[in-house]
């Protein structure tokens, strides 16, 4: 109902704008239509969103006490430079899981203390001679070991569970999910990533910024001919499916999503298990947050280009096509935000009259519409949104969007940058990206100029009502 309310509010507002507030005169009318068109842009997205997340029901299989059909399971924990306090609980908890399985710690940092810990906990310590392709390469090395040992007559591994080194599995991590593999078409089970470090940078007092993604958006993809993508952690994969696509993808820095597309192309299914089964560490500082989001965004651009997603309908269902294409393009949202800042400014400075409504009436109508939209969108997202935090974090997508656009134009080689999960020597506050400082100065200048114009202190050719229409 929230989604419908938000859509109706925007439609009614746009109807009022078109029928009752359009000015006369060719110049004014042209600019007014540009502004109304700009205001109408969110409508298509709102309708698509309401349709796609209408149903987020989950139907998991019953918990099991053994892996189906005698399958053998290995839990993989790739690690690089994370400290003992981050890695230890993950390895200790993984070794404790039922049913019987192996726990492999893939240490790309070649650290003796990690090997000691593995011996103490009964995990298998794995290191490799060549450290290429970061986490993807690390995992592929482990897959190569598995294949070699099976070829040498060993029992082999059938299912791998992947945990980022800060994601501590809860006791039912395997017993709750292994039942999915009764279906021979399933290659991937992805679970939500939940975080236990309250006060993280994206903590909004609900479930953090990723709560909407994991509790609504991903859950909505458990429909026929669609499914979630691999998010790197809190996941399980069928080894034979991975082998079929040549292992973990190394062509991009978001190897998880890219591998999923390869699986989908080969006809494998992916499913979402909507239950918190592991808890990890969310980025604690602005710099960690920005580093992680930039990597995700630029990796999405790599996938967009590498897989030519705009032409992927030939091998995808409509739902998957919509989700993957929109999901990658979403990382360019920062560019749209930047444009959204500039258009009203330009229109306001143009002096055109864009509304015949008085300032009080316009403000009132706009506020009612905007309030209903915010309320409705929050309902649609099952109350997983905290608007002040969501707005605060949205501005980070401006530098991320710019980085993504720059990569699309330059196609530089990208390096996988691990999100730091430990402490720092100095206590430092976050650094505001330069583009945001520019935007703050620009907006402040425009607001001051508009206010001065309304007060008659500077030349201002439009009406108060139009100023409000552009300025809101």
């Amino acid at each position: 109902m929230g989604g419908i309310a938000a859509i109706v509010a925007l439609v009614l507002y746009l109807t009022w704008r078109v029928l009752f507030t359009m000015p006369s005169g060719e110049w004014n009318l042209t600019i007014a239509w540009i502004l109304v068109t700009f205001e109408a842009l969110p409508l298509a997205g709102l309708i698509l969103k309401a349709w796609s997340v209408w149903n987020i029901d989950s139907h998991p299989p019953a918990p099991v006490t053994e892996a189906p059909n005698g399958m053998r399971v290995a839990v993989l924990i790739p690690t690089y430079n994370e400290p003992i306090e981050v890695l230890t609980p993950t390895v200790a908890a993984a070794c404790e899981l039922a049913p019987a399985h192996e726990t492999w710690v893939l240490d790309d940092g070649d650290r003796p203390w990690v090997e000691e810990m593995c011996i103490a906990y009964g995990a298998r310590y794995v290191r490799r001679a060549v450290h290429d392709h970061a986490k993807a390469g690390n995992m592929n090395h482990a897959l190569g070991l598995m294949a070699a040992e099976k070829a040498a007559g060993g029992p082999g591994i059938d299912i791998i569970a992947v945990l980022d080194c800060d994601h501590v599995p809860l006791p039912t991590f395997l017993t709750a999910t292994l039942g999915w593999f009764e279906d021979p078409e399933i290659a991937l089970i992805q679970g939500p990533q939940s975080f236990y470090n309250g006060g993280a940078f994206d903590d909004d007092g609900i479930t953090g910024e990723q709560g909407t993604f994991f509790n609504v958006l991903m859950a909505s993809r458990n429909v026929p001919d669609a499914g979630p993508f691999w998010c790197g952690s809190t996941s399980l994969l069928r080894l034979s499916a991975l082998e079929e696509v040549g292992g973990v993808a190394t062509e991009t820095i978001t190897e998880d999503m890219h591998t999923t597309l390869k699986l989908v192309r080969r006809g494998w299914r992916t499913v979402y298990h909507h239950q918190t089964l592991a808890v990890g560490l969310a980025p604690a500082t602005p710099d960690q947050y920005l580093l992680q989001r930039r990597r995700w965004g630029m990796g999405a651009m790599q996938i967009l280009v590498h897989e030519k997603l705009w032409a992927a309908k030939g091998w995808m269902s409509w739902r998957n096509y919509h989700e993957y294409l929109n999901g990658t393009l979403w990382w360019l949202e920062g560019i749209a935000t930047l444009v959204a800042f500039l258009i009203p400014v330009v229109i306001m400075l143009s002096g055109a009259q864009t509304s015949t409504a008085g300032p009080l009436l316009f403000t009132g109508v706009f506020l009612v519409m905007f309030t209903v939209r915010l309320w409705g969108s929050k309902q649609l997202m099952r109350n997983e949104i905290h608007w002040p935090t969501a707005f605060a974090l949205r501005i980070f997508r401006v530098p991320v969007g710019l980085a993504c656009l720059w990569w699309l134009m330059s196609r530089n080689i990208l390096e996988f940058q691990v999100t730091p999960k430990g402490a720092a020597d100095l206590r430092l506050r976050g650094r505001t990206p330069r583009i945001l400082i520019v935007m703050v100065v620009l907006i402040a200048a425009v607001i001051l100029y508009a206010a001065a114009g309304l007060a008659g202190l500077v030349p201002w050719r439009t009406t108060p009502g139009s100023t409000v229409a552009s300025g809101a």
Binding site: Y196, P286, I395
Partner: protein, 137 residues
């Protein structure tokens, strides 16, 4: 105007002191539970995979050195007293830490936090680990 509000919210969050970097590697959870040490009963105040803060009657714990702490429904763990601070109510708060390379203690604390034994935290719903504590947030 909305753009301005969003920008202000965002830049304030970036510069906020609570999101500054920290020298602490282990995340601490505020969890209240009865604990035992040196034959006396005390209270757990917070816990991490590397140690704990506890409150005991003054004089129960040594000013430094090893102590054996028993968490609810768990085997005793060996920790080092780092410091004790006297309180006006006659108790003392002690900071306890696992010794380097004490894998058994790290494991015991980790499992108590994330695979919390049944009955250890009666105020928590069944199956919910101590890591889910919302105290102090």
């Amino acid at each position: 105007m909305l753009a301005g509000v969003v920008l202000v919210l965002g830049t304030r969050r970036i510069r906020a002191a609570e999101f500054a970097t920290s020298r602490r590697n282990a995340y601490r959870m505020e969890v209240s539970a009865p604990v035992e040490a040196e034959g006396a009963g005390g209270e757990l105040l917070d816990i991490s995979v590397g140690g704990a803060a506890v409150r005991f009657p003054r004089g129960t714990l040594p000013a430094s050195g090893p102590v054996t702490l028993r968490l609810p429904e768990a085997a005793p763990v060996r920790l080092q007293v780092i410091r004790t601070t006297g309180q006006p109510d006659g108790t003392e708060i002690a900071s306890l830490q696992a010794a380097d390379d004490d894998w058994a203690t790290y494991r015991a604390l980790s499992l108590w936090i994330f695979h919390t034994p049944a009955g250890a935290l009666p105020d928590f719903p069944p199956g919910v680990p101590a890591a889910a504590s919302l105290r102090g947030r």
